[in-house]
Symmetry: C2
Subunit: 432 residues, 2 copies
């Protein structure tokens, strides 16, 4: 029979079991933490009508979309989870209760040029807290608490950088800048292109020296959060939006302190480019690896679903690009001490011990011990070898003697120790 050479498409991921194990640990921490904060799972299809998905898309994103026809219908694979969520909330508006806290963990698709650490099929982990007409700014602080808890749990050294778009918008208005969007975009690029280039680009779009100097002073202002809030409060800027943004930012920072968040830093240069955001904005960086970019971003928006409904649905959300984050963590050797569970492996010495072994396995599983059993008829050395290759930590060996005495031999594969125990004692040790 002719064989087909097996391959995975470029930009698509398949992990080997141990790697998958680590990935799943990350996924579980994120899932469980989102859940703990009262978020409810939303699972939207991966395929949508092109008219739905392309309602707002454009530019780079639209070029990357997987689009195809089935019957006479144009279909697309989702390129993020925000557009499908907007559709979902608009469509199910009458059956949802607001604030609606939605969590989404799933795959999205972009036909990007494949390159190191960029994927065409990737996991995103999103939360969005969506209000009806209004949404308290206090929800913005809760989001920081969640990010912080997740990255602390996985043992990362990180900082959540926060800003408020109203501060920049109000400040630009106060400086009589006409092209506020463009100014925002240029400021947003500072980490990529440096302050000198920001200044020259601002000059190019016609800002005067005074305005540029004041912007540079703001976005490069050094100090801790309290000093930065004081700087805003003492600013001569009397723009209403600026003042509102300052209050919101102070509110979020104060709440975060009460929630025990330690890794929050105000950063006036963050604006998240997109016009979509209107208030709080977040970016998260790994300390010492800031150059890989933000690993978790998001912000406050005024209207989740204005393509699909007249209802005003303000919200605040963040997204963790999990496939990319996992790549970075592995690449930078930042994954360590994950509490990975290998199953307990039961090794019957021979077929004669099958009955007793099945009895042992049954009891272990009834006690929720993750248990595997090796059934193939191999030499005992081959069985132990299999346990080693699979990085099994504990093995239970069952031979003639063990069956006679109604015990098992409990072997610690790492410590290279073994002892005879009764089954209850094995369960007790593993439950610790």
């Amino acid at each position: 029979m002719k064989k087909i050479e097996p391959y995975t498409l470029p930009g698509f991921i398949e992990y080997l079991p141990e790697q998958q194990n680590r990935f799943d640990y990350l996924l579980k921490v994120i899932n469980d933490t989102y859940h703990k904060y009262g978020y409810q799972k939303v699972d939207t299809p991966i395929i949508h009508g092109a008219d739905i998905l392309l309602a707002k898309a454009g530019g780079e994103t639209e070029k990357q979309i997987y689009e195809f026809e089935k019957g006479d219908k144009k279909l697309c694979l989702r390129f993020d989870q925000t557009v499908p969520l907007a559709k979902y909330v608009a469509q199910n508006y009458a059956n949802l209760y607001f604030p609606f806290k939605a969590m989404q963990i799933g795959k999205s698709y972009r036909g990007e040029r494949p390159q190191r650490g960029r994927f065409r099929e990737f996991y995103q982990c999103d939360i969005d807290c969506i209000g009806e007409d209004e949404l308290s700014v206090n929800y913005d602080s809760e989001v920081v608490s969640i990010i912080s808890e997740i990255f602390n749990k996985i043992g990362l050294k990180f900082v959540v950088c926060i800003n408020n778009r109203k501060i920049l918008n109000g400040f630009f208005a106060y400086l009589n800048i006409k092209n506020k969007q463009e100014t925002m975009r240029i400021v947003d690029k500072i980490d990529k292109i440096g302050i000198e280039n920001v200044i020259s680009e601002l000059e190019k779009i016609g800002l005067n020296n005074d305005a540029i100097n004041k912007i540079v002073e703001l976005i490069t202002y050094k100090g801790n959060n309290e000093e930065k809030l004081n700087y805003l409060t003492n600013s001569s800027c009397d723009n209403v939006e600026f003042i509102k943004g300052t209050q919101e930012l102070k509110n979020v920072v104060d709440n975060c302190k009460l929630l025990g968040v330690k890794n929050l830093a105000i950063d006036f240069k963050i604006s998240r480019g997109l016009d979509y955001y209107t208030g709080t904005v977040y970016e998260t960086f790994i300390l010492g690896n800031e150059s890989v970019g933000s690993i978790c971003s998001g912000g406050r928006y005024d209207n989740l679903a204005d393509n699909y409904t007249d209802k005003k649905l303000p919200g605040v959300g963040i997204s963790i690009g999990l496939s990319r984050l996992f790549f970075v963590l592995e690449d930078k050797n930042l994954i360590e001490n994950y509490p990975l569970q290998s199953p307990l492996l039961v090794l019957p010495m021979g077929n004669e011990q099958l009955k007793y072994s099945l009895k042992v396995v049954k009891i272990l599983r009834e006690n929720d011990i993750v248990t595997d059993i090796y059934f193939n008829d191999k030499k005992f050395k081959a069985k132990l070898n299999y346990a080693n290759k699979r990085s099994i930590k504990y093995v239970v060996i069952i031979g003639e003697e063990e069956e006679k005495q109604n015990v098992v031999t409990f072997k610690d594969m790492e410590a290279h120790t073994q002892e005879q125990l009764d089954i209850d004692e094995v369960i007790k040790r593993l439950k610790k």
Copy 2:
């Protein structure tokens, strides 16, 4: 701004939050049980090269495949998880250890004609235990134990029907039947077309009366498992394959008894149509709802990946069509008493209690209590109303008095009772 009417494509599923909650409970039971038996997660891409996915496909399946081009490459969405797993194992053969116990829970795609309870995007939950050259038949019994544990946990009345293809194959050979595959396919249809039609179809393909009578006697033989095994043992059929199949079936049934399985029934008419299966075959039925068909099927095969490799990879696997199963359970009102957790909801009476409320929330979450907090500035009645609509079971109310006394008011929304408790007491009650 012009609005686009939000819609979901026919055959695609979106659940409302409470429904999603029930679906997720099912998903978790399946996931955790698979895991407990030592299965390791495999997560293959949804998109593959057409040459990979269509290596073996044909007929109905091939017509239903979502196929498209990106660049100059023909791509397909996976229509099941078995073909991608075969590819994965062939490709990663050198880095896997056998028996390799793979679990896959994910979405697959078939452009079927949409009809009630049939979906174009659907979840499948698969396990496959794959050996290298050989795989003990004892693994076949473990699979029954897993199915049984899952359906017991979700409170279903069910039966796992089991047979062995070798018995049918050997019996047909003993009867000198030339067209064994076709005979198998006709026998497999008995539940759909009835015994009369089976007989007339067997006549049509040229079987003589004696052969037909003996087949009918076998597949309609009544008795418990022991009686059926005796019937086989006492059969005059001396075909080697028949005898081997009988031994395997006896082995599996005996092991299942040791593993505490109570819902297993031998059924000689089951064969799972596909040529793929070579030994044990399984089908699972909901008692009283047999007509919806098997809710979990699978079997033993000789070669997982012969399209991609020369290695002999025998295995045994089952699949739960979760989206379909969930539809049936809801449709037949078989979902009850799912232990669904609603978050604890903290309701500050007013903004003055924000600080104390955040402190309370922080402590609750540190103790792993799933906790939500309502921040919007609404009348208290509206806040309670929100809790009711979301089916929240417990509410924590925080007013001036509670803050002064460093307690909270703990309200049971179902029992309509409330009392003042300190936070530790709340945690203690919820952890129970």
